[in-house]
């Protein structure tokens, strides 16, 4: 299969879906800029023009509601946020309206507002420009939340979102945009709620989303050299959540690590741990380990920031800890995100 970069896969999904469905339009701050949101909206602007690729003023609050209104009568807005942090201003329309629309108004139709939100971490982006908020959005019934980790999933999950009738938030880690991988030429949807086993292994299960899938894979590679089998589960969407794939794996391995770029309290990692506790009492040979952000905002200071972000090295440590496996040389690899430097 031909290879595409993650950002190209997104661009291709947008263009193909817009060609087949005239109700789709793209809206966001700077989407029509020559750079085109990390290259993802450039081609759509070139092909469909500014009548279908709308540059939004800094009006996140109103625009989120405008998207719901447009969706209520048949349009399919694809709203883009250059930082997910800015979505706090859009929360009312997304949470109080879009997520509740179908249920609250007695199932008279949906508002399929599709949101792409860029998240990033590292290199001094700081407290208000590096938050991964999938856990926040995952809290609300009525929303789907997808976290594509590969170019193929970036395309397939976006295609799926643009064909369903449910508001969806797709979280894109900017550390992944240059990642290449095989991507189908056609617009083939990937269903939500179906995780993927990224690495097979029988000793410990690592459940991860988005960027952390790659950190987990690096950890798995390294531990494979020590004869330790790590099963890496790429959850793909955190709502709906593939409980089956998690439970089947943990039933085999008896050990669970959850690696996540959001906080532990009330987060994705808490949810996965709860699912295992509810469904597999007694299956764990050791308590679950959660590798998340420490309980503080993101600092700019370099050493503090390095201590802040969970990475492959810490996944290795956690796995070894669960296996009483001693120590291993970690200098062999770096944090995936350490390849992402500014400028910002």
């Amino acid at each position: 299969m031909r290879e595409l970069r993650y950002c190209e896969a997104i661009s291709e999904a947008i263009v193909q879906c817009m060609a087949e469905d005239p109700s789709i339009f793209v809206a966001g701050e700077g989407v029509d800029d020559p750079v085109g949101t990390h290259g993802t909206t450039k081609e759509a602007t070139r092909l469909f023009g500014r009548s279908r690729v709308l540059d939004l003023p800094n009006s996140e609050n109103a625009c989120a509601g405008v998207a719901v209104g447009a969706a209520a009568q048949g349009m399919r807005p694809l709203v883009v946020y250059t930082r997910q942090d800015f979505m706090f201003l859009a929360m009312d329309a997304v949470v109080n309206l879009a997520a509740k629309w179908r249920y609250m108004y007695g199932n008279k139709g949906g508002v399929p507002v599709v949101t792409r939100a860029v998240v990033g971490r590292g290199w001094g982006q700081g407290a208000t420009h590096s938050q991964s908020l999938h856990s926040v959005f995952g809290h609300f019934p009525g929303l789907y939340v997808a976290t594509p980790a590969s170019p193929a999933d970036a395309k397939g999950l976006l295609v799926q979102a643009l064909r369903l009738d449910t508001p969806t938030v797709l979280v894109e880690n900017r550390g992944l945009y240059q990642l290449t991988g095989p991507v189908p030429e056609e617009a083939v949807p990937i269903p939500f709620g179906r995780g993927r086993i990224a690495r097979h292994g029988s000793d410990v299960t690592v459940v991860a989303a988005s960027l952390m899938v790659h950190e987990a894979e690096r950890a798995a590679d390294l531990l494979a050299g020590q004869g330790i089998g790590v099963e890496v589960i790429d959850i793909r969407s955190i709502r709906p959540l593939d409980e089956t794939i998690v439970c089947e794996s943990v039933a085999r391995t008896g050990r669970l690590v959850v690696a996540d770029t959001s906080w532990a309290r009330y987060g994705f990692s808490a949810e996965v741990a709860a699912v295992v506790a509810e469904n597999l009492p007694g299956a764990l040979r050791k308590p679950v380990r959660r590798l998340t952000l420490p309980d503080c905002p993101a600092p700019v200071s370099m050493p503090l920031e390095q201590a802040f972000h969970p990475n492959a090295g810490r996944i290795v440590e956690a796995c070894l800890d669960l296996l009483d496996g001693g120590e291993v040389e970690l200098s062999a690899f770096d944090d995936v995100a350490s390849g992402v430097v500014g400028p910002y």
Binding site: N58, G124, G126, T128, V300, P303
Partner: protein, 331 residues
Amino acid sequence: MSSTETQPEDTPIDHRTDLLRQMLRIRRFEERCAELYSASKIRGFLHLYVGEEAVAVGVTHALSEDDALVSTYRDHGHALARGVPMDAVMAEMYGKATGCSRGRGGSMHLFDVRRRFYGGNAIVAGGLPLSVGLALGDVMSGRRRVSACFFGDGAVAEGEFHECLNLAALWQLPVLFCCENNLYAMGTALNQAQAVTDLALRASSYGLTSWPVDGMDVIAVAEAAQRAVEGVRAGAGPCFLELRTYRFRAHSMYDPDRYRDKEEIERWKQRDPIDGLAADLRAHGELTDDELSGIEEGIKKELDQAVAMAETAPVEPVEDLTRFVYAERPR
């Protein structure tokens, strides 16, 4: 507030020359930051204020030490003009423990409560409600102080802008709204974001006294701000200044700036606030070449020292990573 840390209060310095010096100080600071950024000494965000210096210098000149100031992510010029020491700002850019925010906030989150500098704010329009709240606090506790707030033309598109102008006018609060209209919000031109681009007119519709000011002329800014502050302090209600300016450089270091044509940028550079004032002072015999190089030398010395201090300053210990998320003792 025209004095800074290193400039003793009683130095007899000509008023217009001092404004020039302050603008140059900001310009040179930021030019150095851009170099340090390319050398990866400074990481993260860097939004330069080059071209807009007359706004920060003119407005802060009209404020007294007691007044409050709220900033944006383009905050270096605001902080320096307000008197936040250059070494504390530079250390913050470096993420060092001696930075004005302990190295935790970085370029977009400069902060100095002693100088009532209530922060760079990385969310567009996020500072406006803060300034209204500061003013409300003053009124409720019977203090006669002004709260000034900088924000860009992009902030006018946010709901908070409109809510805040209304609240300040409704409650007649002592707020000075300073809109830095540089015609662009990242790549979006003002006329692509606003149906009515006369922002002073927009503000007046909320019942605020407002007027446009040539933001490339520091004397015009200082005089307008003086007049505005007098009214606000006297209890005449909030005031709005639309400071018409331009950024000479890209939005941030990430921005390739392909949305503005070069001619437009060049046209504005002809109106460089620093060159303009320097030429005027020279023409009036108020500034000699020697005096100008003296000013430059003084700035260079201060800057070199700030960089040297930032280079060798300690970083916060990693053990403190999760400290100060919550108060460690009651207020």
